[in-house]
Symmetry: C3
């Protein structure tokens, strides 16, 4: 019998793949912010202005930069709890097919959320993606607490 938190557990394996994917997307929002900061010459610190846009002043109100930052923040608020609850959830050795479906719905919802935020698509596209992600996390939490309650 193999460990529950190892690649011997199919659901752990799938969590690593789908969480890894959305975590990488989340991290890449940082360099994307940098690209638009440099392109639009929009910086929050005097030392950044001095180096990358001499003569410009501090600007914390650029539409595109703030939009990427809000998208990044929404990722942190959702992708990180998903991964953490996901680790506890896969420890409970859930049905691998249900788990895989939940991970896929979450990963797809976050990818589409980013598209909806950055294009931007008309609402309620982004809201639907957001709530699909929250629902996927909620489902895992429900299974986790059900397991913890039976177990005790």
């Amino acid at each position: 019998m193999s460990d529950v938190l190892s690649f011997g557990n199919e659901s752990f394996n799938n969590l690593a793949f789908y969480s890894g994917l959305v975590l990488c997307k989340t991290v890449l929002m940082g360099p994307l912010t940098s690209v638009f900061r440099i392109k639009n010459k929009v910086f929050s610190n005097p030392e950044d202005v001095a180096r990358f846009a001499p003569g410009k002043s501090i600007n914390t109100n650029d539409d595109m930069v703030e939009r990427i930052r809000r998208c990044h923040q929404n990722d942190l608020e959702n992708v990180v709890p998903f991964t953490l609850i996901g680790l506890f959830y896969v420890s409970a050795e859930p049905d691998p097919d249900i788990a895989l479906r939940i991970f896929r719905i979450f990963a797809a919802s976050r990818m589409l959320h980013t598209v909806a935020y950055l294009v931007p698509l008309p609402q309620p596209a982004r809201a639907a993606c957001y709530f699909a992600g929250v629902g996927a996390t909620g489902l895992m939490a429900f299974f986790l607490f059900a397991r913890l309650t039976f177990f005790k």
Copy 2:
């Protein structure tokens, strides 16, 4: 002998329960923000205004929405490091009673922090909850580093 990161380890079990609880609370700050955005017609994106409050303008200064957002941010800053350090801490197989006490103090401090922030209660109520949470995380980190140092 069972794995350290599995439900065979009582402290992992308890971490899953208490971390799961505060992580769910953290995720639910998102929909709570949505409720107040819709109620107060306060949105940060033109596409949100167009769909949910036609004729209104962008507003990033609503008192209640910003209060919930600050509370949400404080959760991210504390609940996530707690859970991550907690995972390493339970791997070190701490005394289960001490671990349980730390988890309960943390979870209670974060629930009360939210109450203190949203009511709002007079200070230093919120500050006390905040520092209780930081202390719980610090205790785990202390035990973890003690273990890693002896182990090496």
Copy 3:
């Protein structure tokens, strides 16, 4: 044979140490913010002003407080994904020497990033630290996906 996510796995051990270190630094940005809020009498909530700086008004624009907050935010955006991808990465039982080198580069880059942000050092010092950290996380993600692909 010991579990992959346990102190029997040398890379897990090292991740616990270096992640634990930068996570503690991240958590400590909170109390550092408090110190400068009290010193500069800069608060975001009416109940904070009432208790800690009676007669003052709300202020969300203090240079030093906002600088620490941006640094804290950058930590959350990078240290947390690093630790999560790191957990999946060490599950794949990477070469311990390569893993250790990646963890050290990441931890050093985040410590220097904080110094560069708070002193502040002239750019591109902070940008270089930031991208070193992103690179370390990217390397782990690369190894993880390579492993997951071969494994499937």
